[in-house]
């Protein structure tokens, strides 16, 4: 099975994770239409 990016949809959760693992956040704004 191909590796897929496991996106979070909540920046606050992303910040919490980033703080714990010392990694930057990659934030993508997208238009689903």
């Amino acid at each position: 099975m191909a590796l897929e990016i496991c996106w979070l949809d909540d920046l606050a959760k992303g910040q919490e994770t980033a703080r714990k693992i010392n990694k930057p956040i990659f934030l993508d704004f997208f238009n689903p239409k």
Binding site: Q15, T17, R19, K23, P24, F26, L27, D28, F29, N31
Partner: protein
């Protein structure tokens, strides 16, 4: 991006290993306003406090996104005082993608990272000399122009 770049296995592996990936829909106007986003795709690299360290607008092909994000991570490391990591990341961009425009950006910030580690301004002059030789027309070379005043 969602149709071509993100499904690419190398991109997925790189992003998953190096970042906390977060996707926000454009219908989230509060977030759009918070980060002054008016067009998509807009890609940001943030630190854990939500501060922006890199912004890219428009489409990135898989082969462009990886070195661009590597440079962006180098800038994040530099801005958060992780100078050794910044240096390693930026040197990797220059080594693996020497002909890409992002290598000029990496060269610029590598000079800064080395200077931050050594406090020796010659590191900035060396960055200017290398930029002039390798990327004479790059905006990063112009932005490093004042370093030519530093003696060798």
């Amino acid at each position: 991006m969602g149709a071509v770049t993100y499904p690419n296995e190398k991109v997925a592996k790189f992003v998953s290993l190096n970042f906390v990936p977060v996707k926000i829909e454009t219908s989230n106007t509060a977030m759009m306003q918070r980060f002054s986003v008016s067009w998509t795709p807009t890609l940001l690299v943030l630190d854990a406090e939500g501060r922006e360290h890199y912004r890219g607008v428009g489409f990135f092909a898989p082969e462009d996104l990886i070195p661009t994000l590597m440079t962006a991570k180098g800038r994040w490391a530099l801005d958060t005082d992780q100078f050794a990591e910044a240096r390693a990341l930026l040197e990797e961009v220059i080594s693996l993608h020497p002909d890409m425009e992002t290598a000029a950006e990496a060269l610029f910030f590598l000079g800064v990272a080395k200077y931050k580690m050594s406090h020796d301004p010659k590191n900035l002059r060396e960055a200017y000399d290398e930029l002039t030789a390798k990327f004479p027309t790059s905006s990063w070379t112009k932005q490093a122009d004042h370093y030519r005043l530093i003696s060798k």
